[in-house]
Symmetry: C2
Subunit: 491 residues, 2 copies
């Protein structure tokens, strides 16, 4: 297995980068800022997709697919959207290559220049609303509840595997509604779906809040966010749901005939989560020994390693193991049997520890005699010997316990890192010495928000939805405030 991982306490950032590579999750490609998602990393994404897709369908959404390339002029149609998205992006200008005349290779064919440049989608509001114009005529066509699974490109200058990459995978929901109330309700509903997914599947406790005007999605009237806290005390925005008002309907002229015979602009939402979630998953639960995966998203929940000296022992063990695997699978538990003869048990133990498999089972000749099997947890490293006849029930219970334990542990850490401060000195001290979420009064202006970020590198993460009314004064300006908001350094 080579040398140990860098410790989190030594260099958190280095630990993360090493872990992503060594656990076979992803790696950099030959194209600057674009990653290759390796099979084990992609298997986690598939698990996430399957759960989210089920949740979207249960809330009435359907999938569809819209073009990768968007005409440049579309971005100019919605004023604030163009500011946010028509900047760092991949621009397609030509549609043909040819052999160089000097035989030096292939070159762009200058005669094949596009009349209008096409942009590789950084997000799809514009091309989708250009389509909705054709789909929406009457109130009978509403609501439109559509989701897309896709790749997008944003030309990032500084990239990190999963957390910030030039190309990433995501889902983007885009809905159209007859009324403002219904659209707002949809944005809130998807905010709640993301919360349930983060907490119940990723085992990540989150804070639900609204973004300030300054941090909103370009074109949104309201952006709801779920904010998570990483082990190094930095925040990570894990999903957003936007109420877009009638901005895109007006930009693309999407009106509907009301029941009463009027003609109204449609109301919109959009919402998305990305492969960045894999970065959040890693940074929330993993330790100095490697990845720690919640059972609900692990590519395989159980790995079984045989210990033997001679071929006959392996054969006898494998026979028992096959029966146990079949019983586990019948209970919906995913399991891998690593009976490779090319690697020793010790190597395998280290490998599956690094890869964060929730439960490891080991069976040797003595277990075979005694009717036992060794059960080891990845989260606590606890080992117990279990009667083989009880192992399926034991593992079924254990997986639930591990899932809950990871959530509780992350919640204790998160709750320990929410600190109320009442002065700017305290604000800076907490950020510097402890990190985490800082709950502070703020005067409600963009100027103050920006000034605080300049002075401390902490951004205003969100206005928590459950913030209680409380009179106070802004930590920076001393102006009055009626609730605390959350600041943090962030990914």
């Amino acid at each position: 297995m080579g040398k140990k991982l860098t410790k989190r306490s030594e260099d958190y950032s280095k630990w993360y980068n090493e872990l992503v590579l060594r656990a076979d999750l992803a790696e950099n490609s030959a194209v600057r800022g674009m990653m290759v998602i390796k099979p084990y990393g992609y298997a986690i994404w598939e698990k996430m997709q399957a759960e989210l897709d089920r949740m979207f369908k249960e809330t009435g959404h359907q999938n569809a697919y819209f073009p990768l390339l968007i005409p440049k002029s579309f971005f100019s149609k919605e004023a604030s959207h163009v500011e946010g998205f028509a900047k760092e992006c991949a621009v397609v200008t030509h549609y043909r290559l040819k052999n160089a005349e000097d035989g030096s290779g292939i070159v762009v064919d200058e005669t094949a220049k596009l009349e209008e440049e096409l942009i590789v989608r950084p997000t799809s509001e514009t091309i989708i609303w250009d389509t909705y114009k054709r789909w929406v005529q009457s109130y009978r066509d509403l609501p439109l509840l559509i989701n897309q699974w896709a790749n997008v490109v944003r030309w990032e200058m500084r990239t990190r595997l999963f957390l910030r990459t030039t190309e990433f995978l995501w889902q983007e929901g885009h809905t159209a509604h007859a009324t403002k109330e219904e659209a707002l309700e949809e944005a809130e509903k998807m905010h709640e779906v993301y919360t349930r997914f983060a907490e119940d599947f990723m085992a990540i406790p989150i804070i639900k809040g609204a973004k300030t005007e300054n941090e909103r999605f370009a074109g949104a009237l309201e952006t709801f966010t779920i904010e998570a806290l990483m082990q190094d005390g930095k925040a990570l925005q894990a999903g957003t749901s936007h109420f877009l008002g009638q901005n895109f309907a007006k930009a693309f002229d999407v009106k509907y005939a009301t029941k009463e015979g009027g003609l109204e602009y449609v109301w919109a939402t959009s919402w998305g989560v990305t492969t960045r979630l894999i970065g959040a998953l890693i940074m929330t639960h993993s330790d100095d020994n490697g990845l720690v995966l919640p059972p609900n998203l692990a590519p395989y929940q159980v790995v079984i390693v045989p210990i033997y000296k001679i071929a006959e022992q392996l054969e006898a063990i494998s026979e028992r193991v096959n029966q146990i695997m079949s019983d586990l699978r019948a209970r919906g538990i995913s399991v891998k049997y690593d009976d490779r003869t090319t690697h020793k048990p010790g190597w395998k133990f280290a490998e599956y520890e690094l890869k964060g498999v929730p439960v490891r089972l080991v069976m040797g000749p003595r277990d075979l005699e005694n009717g036992t099997i060794e059960v080891a947890r990845r989260d606590t490293f606890e080992k117990t010997n279990v009667e083989q006849i009880n192992v399926v029930q034991k593992i079924s219970d254990l997986l639930k316990e591990i899932q809950e334990n990871l959530f509780s542990k992350a919640k204790v850490f998160r709750d320990d890192h929410i600190t109320e401060v009442n002065s700017f000195e305290e604000f800076k001290k907490v950020l510097k010495e402890k990190g985490g979420f800082v709950l502070a009064h703020w005067d409600g202006t963009i100027e103050t928000e920006k000034r605080i970020k300049e002075l401390t590198k902490a951004s205003l993460r969100c206005i928590p939805l459950d913030a209680k009314e409380e009179k106070g004064v802004c930590v920076l300006t001393g102006k009055p405030s009626n609730k605390r908001v959350i600041f943090a350094k962030a990914y």
Copy 2:
């Protein structure tokens, strides 16, 4: 429902285009040649994906994800590949837009020009083999069995929804092996997987064959194909599996240490199917009334329409229907209940006929009294009254019967359209008057193959794998030949 579809006999091509639009499968977007796949069309693709993905995993493959954009120079590395793919493609030359100085909108920022242009992937061999170079060192790393679900762009001049679009969705398998035999076996195995998928799920009978050198994938030593026949007598290539030899391993310098301590180039395959399959599905089974879907790929297999005059009737019917739906779902049958009050039953009948739902159930007040329900098949239009207590078993059987009937019907048509010809006059006559697959002797040269295409517009579809040895003479040149090959006009 508006006016009727154009009849296939009047204008097959027009019938197809109308059907795709009217059945809500797909439509053209604002970007030339790029389609929007609508929810109903996308749901068919999801069904296809789910089955194929299962088949790939059962044969030991894992999914991964590689970059969308590929450096231009990569295409020059494999000599025949560059000829085939580095031509009509989308070229990214810049990475930033800016506001025009004259305020006229946004323009490309000329200072943000890429040093090397990036190509939107038309296929991923090059970027994947550049990655495999890092993944393969020893025989222990082989085989690598990887698949990617992705979008690709090929700048097509003439496009048609599903059949030929500038952007399309597909899967591309890319495998690396220690030996030639193992790679060839893999290419053949995936050829067989595609055959099983086409016949058992799409209900499309296919001919398995090998492409001639002229029609092979750019960079392949052998291309296996599954060829289907559409109702207008034209062929459609429905999937290909390539044995790539060591071409990409040599181009990207991918070698492995053998067990014996030597160093050898790796052997490769690639294989793919695309959203084009949806076009094949439509053109194989559908009729003048609309889409006909095989139950194994229908987004919903059963639709239930209530007939009622007053709200109390609807309520009583719905109660019975809910029980039936729950019983159907317990048997794994997908069902939709259309109890919308905004549309009349007649409108609904026409809608689901157009959309090809395999089975329609109708329940009215009299059925409620008699304990019956009307069952209508989309493929034969046959209607029967069934006792409600038998309806679940009846439908379960019926879905299997419809699946088989669609396959048999397509097979009878296909077999009727395979014609042996022994002269070039006969060849041209059959092509003109009957269409379909023409089985003819060919002298084995690219010149003759190309000449026949020029003269007749028929391409050499494949050398059937089950072609029997038979002495004959080439229909064009009279030179000796030892087996018949298949020609056809094709999509």
